[in-house]
């Protein structure tokens, strides 16, 4: 489904991602774990095309994405939920969701979205910027989902969100996987959340993937050691 090979990313002269290879199968959820500053966000921004100039190859269903602008990658089937949500604060909740419909065939928001996120229906006329962090996170996920993506990229969805809402988000993500065929690549630092949703865990350290394990064989202590400072 999503095949990344030999991906290198630099900011100016300094290389941050040193040749990452990863592949995610259809319907699989893969988590990229790692401490702050290890390159998770850089990796995700490169995959969606916000950061340009990565060397290597990113293929989605065989289609090469490197060199394409972000909107073309979305059209190809990627969807992106960035770190810090980045919803459009001056637009209403409804308009935020509609913005995600750009590449969809229909321009009407599917009912499914509001049954997944009932709170968004309640708040649909409010401005996005006036929602709480957890609600904004749900909005960002909803905005990404309406484009009916093949691959959903989630960059630190639990950052700055209270524990009870984190549980809720994990449940929603599993509900989404049950409802439709979707591949999820998620970056995380919270192990409990990751174990709730991921089939496979990767550890990114200083721009290299250093560890890979399936959830069944996962040794929580070992992963924790990678995540602790």
């Amino acid at each position: 489904m999503l095949e990344v090979s030999g991906l290198r990313v630099s900011y100016g002269q300094s290389e941050v991602i040193h040749g990452v290879d990863l592949s995610v199968k259809r319907n699989e959820t893969v988590a990229v774990m790692g401490r702050n500053g290890m390159g998770k966000t850089t990796l995700f921004k490169t995959l969606i095309g916000i950061l340009k100039g990565g060397a290597g190859s990113v293929k989605l269903d065989g289609q090469e994405l490197v060199g394409l602008p972000s909107h073309a990658r979305v059209a190809a089937g990627l969807a992106y939920v960035p770190q810090g949500r980045m919803i459009f604060p001056t637009l209403t909740v409804m308009e935020n969701i509609q913005a995600g419909l750009e590449t969809a065939r229909t321009k009407a928001v599917p009912d499914e979205i509001f049954s997944l996120f009932p709170v968004l229906h309640e708040m649909r006329h409010r401005k996005g910027g006036n929602l709480s962090g957890g609600q904004q996170q749900q909005l960002a996920i909803a905005r990404a989902l309406v484009s009916d993506p093949k691959v959903l990229l989630l960059d630190e969805p639990t950052e700055g969100i209270q524990p009870s809402i984190i549980k809720e988000i994990a449940q929603t993500l599993n509900e989404i996987r049950r409802l439709r065929e979707i591949t999820i690549l998620v970056s995380e630092q919270v192990l409990s959340f990751t174990l709730d949703i991921a089939d496979r865990l990767l550890v990114l350290e200083s721009g290299r993937l250093v560890h890979e394990v399936s959830r069944a064989e996962c040794d929580a202590d070992k992963i924790s050691r990678y995540l602790s400072v």
Partner: protein
């Protein structure tokens, strides 16, 4: 003001107020285009006045053509001239964006210089094509004359026509901004350009369309402008400063703010002009605007949300 009777004062206020409304209409149309372009791509278009003049000359061209070729059409040509003015300015704006502006998006200060240069080029082009003398259009007979509600008050018909036109254009722009897909794309890009791309919006093509639409609206302002004043190669330069003032005062990106600020600046100037000289009126308006901007740096109506 002691020399005027109450009745005279009322008439003065009514007429100057109405003249202010005509000025408000032209300023609003100009400012709408400028604000949309600035909000979308942070380009300060110094050549915006010249796009207005394109609209004005288009109207002039059509009116002379009608006078010489089809005089029977004189009463109706304005209905062709306004869309034509929009279209001409739109097309030129489209080309300018593709050839010049899009190469300068990462260098906002350079766009200032480049569009100023463009303004000079366009002014010289007008001079070469239409001559240095100011030209006027033949107004249809139904736009001439005035409406007299009392003996002392004269309200010119063309002023009323401009207001109606402005009303329609403003409503159209508001509808496009808040109800159309294009408007949604524009508001997303204004809010967060990178993220707009990442939800699938082709921001480059939105830029081009937005620039062209902004220029087209200036073209409509030009068509309106020909009915109250004569057009010369440098007419645009006269309006650009006031237009900038309106945009900054209103708070860039706020449609309501742009309207309120165009209204207050136009009314302030027009009414003050009667009692003190024109340049003193300008000075006073400017001082008030600066004062208010010191208290509210984001302009009159900045959108209130957490960022």
């Amino acid at each position: 003001m002691g020399d005027f009777t109450t009745e005279e004062l009322l008439a003065i206020f009514a007429m100057q107020g109405f003249a202010g409304l005509s000025l408000f209409s032209v300023l609003l149309l100009m400012a709408l285009g400028l604000a949309i372009i600035y909000g979308q791509m942070r380009v300060i278009n110094m050549a915006h006045g010249e796009f207005m003049v394109i609209g004005a000359y288009t109207t002039y061209f059509i009116s002379t053509l009608v006078v010489s070729q089809a005089p029977w059409f004189l009463d109706y040509y304005v209905f062709i001239a306004v869309p034509a003015a929009f279209l001409m300015a739109f097309i030129v704006g489209w080309i300018v964006e593709a050839v010049l502006i899009r190469h300068l998006y990462h260098r906002p200060l350079d766009t200032l210089l480049a569009t100023w240069g463009l303004a000079l080029i366009m002014q010289q082009a007008f001079r070469s094509i239409f001559g240095a003398r100011e030209v006027s259009v033949r107004l249809p007979s139904w736009l001439q004359g005035s409406y007299q509600p009392t003996l002392m008050i004269d309200i010119p018909i063309n002023g009323i026509a401009i207001m109606v036109l402005t009303l329609f254009v403003t409503a159209g722009v508001a509808w496009m901004m808040y109800r159309s897909r294009w408007g949604l794309r524009v508001r997303c890009t204004v809010s967060n350009r990178e993220m707009s791309g990442a939800v699938g919006i082709n921001t480059r093509s939105v830029d081009r369309l937005t620039f062209a639409v902004g220029c087209g609206i200036a073209g409509i302002a030009g068509a309106a402008f020909t009915t109250i004043s004569s057009t010369g190669p440098t007419s645009g330069a006269l309006y650009i400063v006031d237009t900038f003032l309106v945009v900054v005062f209103g708070g860039a990106g706020s449609l309501l703010g742009t309207m309120a600020s165009a209204f207050s600046i136009a009314q302030g100037q027009s009414i003050l002009e009667f009692f003190i000289s024109g340049s003193m009126a300008k000075v006073l308006t400017l001082l008030v605007v600066i004062g208010i901007l010191m208290l509210r740096p984001e302009g009159l109506f900045a959108s209130k949300v957490r960022r």
